[in-house]
Symmetry: C2
Subunit: 354 residues, 2 copies
């Protein structure tokens, strides 16, 4: 039986993507070869890479606007480093909204002075700081759009003349934004875009080439751009499955349609969290993430019964991150509304039997 998968990432992808991805392991495009055994320089894979890069820009509304899309390796953690390598001359401004922002700050500090413009650490990152100012002499401003661990999401972004860099790992392709406000967007694939193993980087070319240091080839966005994201062997299969997922997003109405579905799912679950006296949301209401709903059980003695019940209902991955405890329901693009209904039903049943 297929599970209701609320895993925080790697996470559920569309079932038809799994099907096509599985077939391509045995025979890619009727070539008589597995997608895993073809050269990355073959016409078949070059076309996968090109379509994936173009489709990513198209879905974000960024084609023909001076942006390039890259599929790199190393996850957001590598981007914490690459961002600083490529953009940080002296000083940069970072908004600290959780574990991932903190890690980004730590890596960037090796390259220059980091100004933490605001932090919600005082409340275990359960809200998004909204008033802060970005220093005039900052090379760029960095933020994290969605905080997977704490279940918060930035609903608005500052208007600034500085380059804006955003880690969108856990909510890219899930909601409509004016993406042209950003100069550098990066996202590990393993939420809404594909499997673990590749990272989308969307960069406005004119922000590059302004630091003095020598950048190692693998760290240099300009090198990857000059080689059409094939400076070295890319993560062939992860890029391919990302392409299948991007095609699925487009076929199903693009980001706007994803957002509508995601809002429905989030409303259904948060309504139950707020209604049911046995549960309490973790994140501040106005900052709640539709991607990751974090909540606690108010009566600890019912915890085991709840855990048994959702597991029995075929639900996977509902445990909270160790930094927060409680529960976390990750509701990425591919999760059906029915899966959320299953969790809501289990929550209601717990209340009725309690």
């Amino acid at each position: 039986m297929k599970k209701h998968n609320f895993s925080a990432g790697p996470c559920i992808l569309p079932q038809e993507v799994f099907q096509e991805a599985s077939e391509a392991i045995l025979d890619f495009n009727n070539s008589g070869l597995s997608i895993m055994e073809i050269s990355h320089r073959s016409a078949g894979f070059v076309s996968v890479m090109e379509e994936a890069r173009e489709l990513a820009l198209e879905l974000l509304g960024l084609n023909n606007k001076g942006y390039k899309a890259l599929f790199l390796q190393g996850g957001a953690s590598m981007q914490f480093l690459m961002t600083a390598y490529n953009l940080l001359n002296k000083k940069a401004a970072y908004l600290n909204t959780g574990t991932w922002s903190s890690k980004a700050i730590k890596e960037a500090e090796l390259f220059g002075e980091i100004i933490e413009v605001a932090s919600s650490k005082d409340q275990n990152f359960n809200y998004i700081p909204k008033t802060f100012s970005i220093p005039d002499d900052a090379d760029y401003f960095h933020c994290t759009s969605n905080n997977t661990i704490f279940g918060t999401q930035m609903k608005s972004f500052p208007n600034t003349s500085k380059s804006m860099v955003c880690d969108m790992s856990s909510d890219i392709f899930s909601r409509s934004l004016d993406f042209s406000k950003f100069d550098l967007i990066y996202a590990g694939a393993q939420k809404n875009m594909g499997p673990a193993g590749t990272t989308l980087v969307v960069v406005k070319e004119d922000i590059l080439g302004k630091v003095d240091r020598k950048i190692p080839s693998m760290m240099d966005y300009a090198v990857h751009i000059s080689k059409d994201s094939m400076f070295n062997t890319p993560a062939v299969y992860a890029v391919y499955v990302s392409l299948l997922t991007l095609r699925w997003i487009k076929k199903n109405g693009g980001i706007a349609a994803m957002e509508k579905r995601n809002d429905e799912k989030a409303e259904l679950l948060y309504a139950e969290i707020d209604r049911n006296p046995l549960f309490k949301g973790f994140a501040a209401r106005e900052d709640r993430s539709p991607m990751n709903a974090t909540f606690n059980i108010t009566n600890d003695s019912l915890k085991d019964r709840f855990d048994d019940a959702w597991k029995a209902a075929g639900v996977n991955g509902l445990n909270g991150h160790r930094s927060v405890g409680g529960y976390r329901a990750s509701m990425y693009n591919a999760l059906p509304l029915e899966s959320v209904q299953v969790v809501v039903d289990v929550m209601k049943e717990l209340e009725n039997k309690a």
Copy 2:
């Protein structure tokens, strides 16, 4: 029809690995979940990662000898950089045997002085330099065991008191060596070990911690070791398929058995290259690689006919790299002897009809 796949990498993997890998995309270990949608922190994947790390060391004969195995991202190109980040204080010695050595040197030069102890560039890297000395004050010696592009392979390695670092991307797990001579071995998976997207690093722990610089987390072998190769989300699927391939190597007799098969294949093809007046080997005989046989056609007017013939015989990936031209037959572990016989038959037939 399944092709005879001589691709230089990504390349052929065992058919039973493709089969199991394809099934796990739909249902991993009867979990009701795809291998791509489970958490990398789940018991199922943690056990994949641990078994892959242990099996890599076991096959190399390096367990319980102070080595750690890591599965990182970014390919050998990232290791060119990480090697220098972690080991290079002032000076290092590099043997230049081709494109990949040259790239490794270029990246390391950002971190210190690089002494090129010898180079075969004068002959377009068609041989392995054998006489050279390693400076006493070098932090380490770096070499490339097999040169995919030029078809040469180091048959012996220097005895040195320096740390020895080796890029074994294209021949790891293909031949028996005393691997304990090396202090750091790295290899992109996409030849004998698995699909593109992960890189095996085997490092002797006691060589670490001896440089003065601050190392970014993602560049730091010690950080990855301390987190059991899960500092951040690993390339889940690429590691899983690597594990399947390592299990296949073990089940089929380990490295010694692979070497025997590889030698048979290489002897069959090189014998025909040497016998058939229409062909001529590129690499010096004593340095020939059993992994990648490079050769040219002696009569250019027969080129089209030869190309049509091997393609018609179901052969894939026989074109040489643009740096060398001609042909390159890559005969990694998973390539059957029968595939080599098909190429040899086409070569003979060309001679008979010429």
